[in-house]
Symmetry: C2
Subunit: 110 residues, 2 copies
Amino acid sequence: MGVTKTTLFNDTQNELAAFAKVLGHPARIAILQYLLKANTCCNYNLVDDLGLAQATISQHLKEMKQLGIIQGTVEGVSVNYCINPEKWLELKARFSELFDGYRPGDCLSC
Amino acid sequence: MGVTKTTLFNDTQNELAAFAKVLGHPARIAILQYLLKANTCCNYNLVDDLGLAQATISQHLKEMKQLGIIQGTVEGVSVNYCINPEKWLELKARFSELFDGYRPGDCLSC
DNA sequence: TACATATATCGTAATATTGCAATATAACAG
DNA sequence: CTGTTATATTGCAATATTACGATATATGTA
């Protein structure tokens, strides 16, 4: 059906999945890595750097912006994007919470 | 077109995106959380717990198994799944590397 | 052997995602 | 106002994902 049954899961699970989903595309990883290095970037920087069409880059930026991971400020004709510090820390914390919840043990029968 | 242009990105970016993608569904998050708590589980445990059909659970397990995040061992009629310790640490490290790469700075023009 | 239990796989329908050309919008320069 | 530059939005085609019923497979039990 292509539709996720979100009602079966709690908010924490749906939100963490939503964050992971947006990181689940190499172009969006590449955009974030660009931002980590350059601190700021515009759409056209990414078009040059990644080799995807302008419309495609714009779409990926929109998705990350909607989740609050990045923010854009209009600067004349262009838009400067950068990472949202608070959201970035939240993301980091959410994933750490998941990963740190593991205590190794034997694979016993259930 | 629905097809990701993986050739535009490097292995690190594609692999990290693949890991994030598999975490990008609440059912798979829920399965991992179940495993973190119970240490081990079978398909039918998850069917009871999550409320998804057996075939659907099996499919989600398969995806995580293919990436090596979980492993399954046949135990009589059922299969015991558990988290792959090495892969889990690798995942944690990969995401930490991304998140720790951020140094806050101003959103300057580009 | 016949049956029950547990899981995997197949086939299919509904929906989502990816990518881009074309076009719209917005800000600035002359 | 006109043209230029940068970005957003729309519309569409190709492909991917999600979910599940039906069925296949595999192990254990009577």
